[in-house]
């Protein structure tokens, strides 16, 4: 495990949130946890950026939220992907892959 965790580039947090939610509805805390697990702890999600991102994405209509019960039976706000969100996810996914492929190519050049 590398000592220094990289910062998440601007704009990619939205993509990560959408991806995390594509596995099923989850509350804010769980979303952070899920991303960290999927990244095998190579990424840390700052709480200070996660919630504003959630509100922003919700405003754009890609996710929606409702109150539900958490695993330990507490009231928690659960977010889930909307139809528009699913579309946005696949769009951003392909864009990201395209971009990272291109960047990788550039970096591989010697």
């Amino acid at each position: 495990m590398p000592k220094q965790k990289p910062d998440i580039p601007q704009g990619t947090l939205d993509l990560l949130v959408l991806k995390a939610l594509s596995l099923g509805p989850m509350h804010g805390y769980g979303i952070g946890q899920r991303i960290q697990q999927l990244a095998e702890n190579m990424l840390t999600i700052e709480e200070g950026t996660l919630y504003p991102a959630l509100y922003r994405i919700e405003n754009r209509g890609w996710i929606e939220s409702e109150w539900g019960a958490s695993e330990n039976n507490r009231r928690a706000r659960f977010y889930s992907l909307t139809k528009a969100g699913r579309k946005q996810l696949s769009l951003e996914e392909s864009q990201w892959q395209h971009l990272s492929f291109a960047i990788a190519k550039v970096l591989r050049a010697t």
């Binding site: 709480e47 919630y51 504003p52 919700e58 405003n59 958490s70 009231r75």
Partner: protein, 877 residues
């Protein structure tokens, strides 16, 4: 964007901001709790775990705020804060806020009210079917364009009716006569308009209840009767079983067969729609022209084609003047004709007022914006976004504009109610005046344009704002003084145009009011007596009535006549025995049947010959008294006494008398203004009413009573005497003669009063404008004043300097205004009386008034400048 949940959330956050905040807080708390649990599970002590969880979260409040903004609460809160801040800021300078709001309210108020009036009176189409094809047919001959003789006779109507191909239908009305109604409380007079049977079908109007007359019913007088909606509602209490109800009119029992709908546009005073029966004798006399003929054009026919055709038809008839011409006036123009010009002029005045209003507001806001540029710079440098500051200014303007517009609409509603209910200015078609959607729309549009204009000035100013220099020197951007000067000069010149216009109209009004009517209207009471006597019986009735009245206390003299000086007279046609009579160009003059004492009662001066005496009756030789101008026109340089003329007297109901008798002129009386005060009197003649061989005059005359005291005190005496003599006699309102004269001047008063108040308003507003500009300029130049004083300028010299500065503006404004007035005053020429549109007194007076007002408005700021303490100012630098 159709995302219901998004908008529901926004609305919830608007209505329940607390709940949204609480939800966000709860969500974040859940997050912290979860994290704490996890850390505790990893073996950290509870307190430490909680502390670490909180620490890793960072600024909870910030996240909460961001969440609140994102969930839609933010913009509402910002608006709320803007509003509160705006109201507080405006409250700190109440003088500014009140001036701005009142200026706006006045500008928008008069503008909306006038627009409502113009729309309702001039623009609104007549509520009849295809109203643009309806015309009023008028007939004229000779060079004069006077109103007399513009109506048509029964035979004229029949010719048009039978021969015209350009008219789809043609109908004749005879408005303004009265019937006596008895058996419903006090006997009273009802107003009638007689119509031919196709009158309502021509207009496309059906009865509200019941039916119209059938053509067959048009051959008998009396019988059935059709009443107006107003009469049904107001006099018969809206009786649902009115059809078949018997009304006792002129002593006959008449069953009601129909109620017409409310017709506020056409003969609105009508109580009874009577029959205009073609068989009656007076309808068969070619020269008895009194019918109002309304026609509907065939589709595709122009008014010019109709005029040509009808002129040809009427010229063919025997005895018609060869220069006779027919005009077809659009019915709406006919109904509103005499108020069209005044209303347009008033509208022009209102637009000028609106212009001044906007200029003034712009001045006020510019001055204020300059004042506040330090504050704006401070807020900008503290990190406020430009958008946020712009929003703040827009919000403040909106507060001013909405308050001003709301007040203005209230003011407009008040004005409209006054005009409608007090019948100010005798406006036709004013019954439906109110603020409707189009007036609201106009007010809104004006507000919008104003708000754009008002935002523009300060925005331009702030674009030049240099943050650095403002903060360093504490001096903000200031509007260029030139902008103010241009605005104030524009304002002043508009005010001058209004002042000159108002001055001309007010002077005309004054001249008309002080015109000599030819008699002494003080101490005269008058009322209309409708008797129903069509025979010599009437002579006894009036003989006894006048004798009784003369003996009553407080009454000096009394008489009757069929004319009403200052209001109306009939038309008489002259024939001479000392010269050939041209049948094509007959001599028409004003005529009046009167009782013996008419001239002494009215207070008119006999110039030659004698008055009538009680001996001038049906058995004695026929006589006539002519007016001075008649004598001069027909017997110039000769003695008119003893000359002989024959008089054919025309009018509704008048019968032809075959060959009229020749009458001997026994007296010459000075000219009386029989019809209107504001025109030269027509030549006129007076005949003893006992010598009316048709006895027609007895049926309805005006009673004149000269009292020895205040006339209103004698009204009851007159009423009591008439009632005591003949209990079932109807008595109209008894009024004093002056109010008859004044009533004729109502439209003149209306336009002069309105223009006068607008001019006053404009003057006030420009005073505010010049005051504001100078006050602002003085405040900006405190330093300069201080230095001037330190260098030895005296206080009076500074005072003079500032007042002079203001007066320079006023003189420039007055100069431009006078040029504009010279160019534009011709349009009000038709409303002027005895003065030219370039009346030097009105021009000089307006300019002087403006100077005085401007100088006094300059005085306060000048004194403030002169009281500058040089030490204070220089130390503050």
């Amino acid at each position: 964007m159709l995302r219901p949940k998004f908008w529901i959330r926004r609305i919830v956050s608007l209505l329940r901001p607390g709940r949204v905040r609480q939800e966000i807080a709860e969500e974040l708390q859940f997050h912290i709790d979860q994290q704490t649990r996890e850390k505790m599970a990893a073996g950290v002590s509870p307190e430490e775990a909680r502390r670490q969880a909180r620490l890793s979260f960072g600024g909870i409040t910030q996240i909460e705020e961001q969440g609140f903004d994102a969930r839609g609460g933010g913009w509402f809160e910002a608006l709320y804060h803007d509003l509160r801040y705006g109201i507080r800021v405006l409250g700190r300078s109440p003088a500014f806020a009140i001036t701005a709001i009142l200026t706006l309210a006045l500008g928008i108020g008069v503008n909306s009210a006038l627009f409502a009036i113009i729309k309702n009176v001039l623009i609104r189409p007549l509520p009849f079917s295809q109203p643009d094809r309806l015309v009023m047919v008028r007939e004229q001959s000779g060079p004069s364009s006077s109103d007399a003789g513009s109506r048509l006779s029964g035979p004229d109507f029949n010719d048009i009716h039978d021969q015209s191909h350009t008219l789809q239908s043609v109908t004749a009305a005879l408005p303004n006569f009265t019937y006596t109604l008895t058996g419903e409380g006090d006997p009273r007079n009802v107003k009638c308009t007689a119509i031919t049977y196709d009158f309502f079908p021509t207009l496309g109007i059906r009865p509200f209840l019941g039916r119209l007359y059938t053509p067959a019913e048009y051959h008998v007088d009396g019988g059935e009767v059709v009443i107006s909606y107003r009469f049904w509602k107001e006099q018969l209490g809206g009786d649902p079983n009115v059809i078949g109800r018997i009304l006792k009119l002129q002593g006959d029992n008449m069953p009601v067969i129909g109620v017409m709908p409310d017709l506020p546009d056409l003969y609105p005073e009508t109580d009874v729609w009577a029959k205009n029966i073609p068989e009656l004798e007076f309808m068969h006399w070619r020269q008895n022209k009194f019918l109002s003929v309304i026609a509907r054009l065939q589709p595709g026919v122009t008014r010019q084609q109709t005029e040509k055709e009808l002129t040809a038809i009427l010229r063919r008839a025997p005895g018609q003047p060869s220069d006779l011409r027919v005009s077809a006036v659009p019915l709406k123009d006919e109904l509103v004709g005499n108020v069209k010009t005044p209303l347009k002029i008033v509208m022009g005045a209102v637009l000028l007022v609106l212009l001044i209003t906007s200029v003034n507001l712009l001045c006020l806001l510019l001055a204020r914006a300059s004042d506040r540029s330090t504050e704006v710079a401070m807020r900008l440098s503290l990190g406020a976004s430009t958008a946020r500051i712009t929003r703040q200014f827009v919000t403040e303007n909106l507060i001013l504009l909405t308050t001003g517009t709301t007040l203005g609409l209230g003011f407009a509603a008040l004005l409209l109610t006054t005009v409608r209910d007090s019948n100010l200015g005798n406006l036709p078609r004013s019954a439906g005046l109110r603020i409707d959607s189009s007036v609201l729309l106009l007010a809104l549009a004006v507000t919008l344009v104003l708000s754009l204009l008002l935002a523009l000035g300060p925005a331009r100013l702030y674009r030049r704002l240099n943050l650095n220099s403002v903060i360093k020197t504490g001096k903000g951007a200031t509007a260029r003084p030139r902008a103010f000067r241009v605005l104030v000069i524009a304002e002043m010149s508009c005010a001058i145009v209004l002042l000159v216009g108002a001055g001309l109209l007010l002077r005309s009004l004054w001249l008309v009011e002080h015109v000599n009517p030819g008699f002494e209207p003080e101490h005269i009471l008058t009322t209309y007596l409708r008797t129903g006597y069509y025979s010599a019986e009437g002579a006894q009735f009036f003989d006894e009535l006048l004798r009784r009245l003369k003996q009553a206390p407080g009454i000096q003299n009394t008489s009757v006549a069929d004319c009403l000086p200052g209001s109306r007279a009939s038309t008489a046609r002259l024939q001479f025995d000392d010269r050939p009579n041209d049948p094509v160009h007959p001599a028409f003059v004003d005529g009046c049947w009167a009782s013996a004492d008419i001239f002494t009662t009215l207070g008119a001066t006999l110039e030659q010959g004698r008055y009538f005496t009680p001996h001038d009756n049906a058995r004695s030789a026929p006589v006539v008294i002519v007016s001075d101008s008649l004598a001069r026109e027909y017997w110039p340089g000769e003695n008119p006494i003893g000359k002989r003329i024959a008089i054919s007297y025309t009018g509704p109901g008048r019968r032809s008398t075959g060959n009229p008798r020749f009458r001997t002129v026994v007296g010459v009386i000075e000219d009386l203004k029989l019809r209107v005060l504001d025109a030269a009197p027509n030549p006129a003649l007076y005949m003893p009413f006992l010598q009316d061989e048709t006895n027609h005059v007895f049926a309805g005359v005006n009673l004149f009573v000269r009292t020895t005291r205040e006339p209103v005190w004698s009204a009851d005496t007159v009423r009591r005497e008439i009632r005591a003599f003949k209990p079932d006699q109807t008595i109209n309102r008894i009024v004093d003669m002056n109010s008859v004269l004044v009533a004729g001047l109502a439209p003149r008063r209306f336009s002069a009063g309105l223009l006068g108040s607008f001019a006053g308003l404009a003057l006030l507003l420009s005073a505010v404008g010049i005051y504001g500009t100078l006050a602002f300029s003085v405040a900006q130049r405190r330093r300069e004043m201080g230095i001037r004083m330190a260098l030895g300028a005296s206080r009076p010299k500074l005072l003079n300097m500032i007042v002079g500065e203001g007066l320079t503006l006023a003189i420039a404004g007055a100069g431009i205004g006078i040029i504009l007035s010279l160019l534009s005053m011709r349009i009000i020429q038709s409303l002027l009386f005895h003065i030219s549109p370039f009346d030097p007194l009105a021009f000089a007076g307006s300019a002087l008034l403006l100077m005085v007002v401007a100088a006094s408005a300059c005085f306060l700021p000048a004194r403030r400048a002169a009281s500058t303490e040089p030490v204070e100012v220089l130390r503050a630098e």
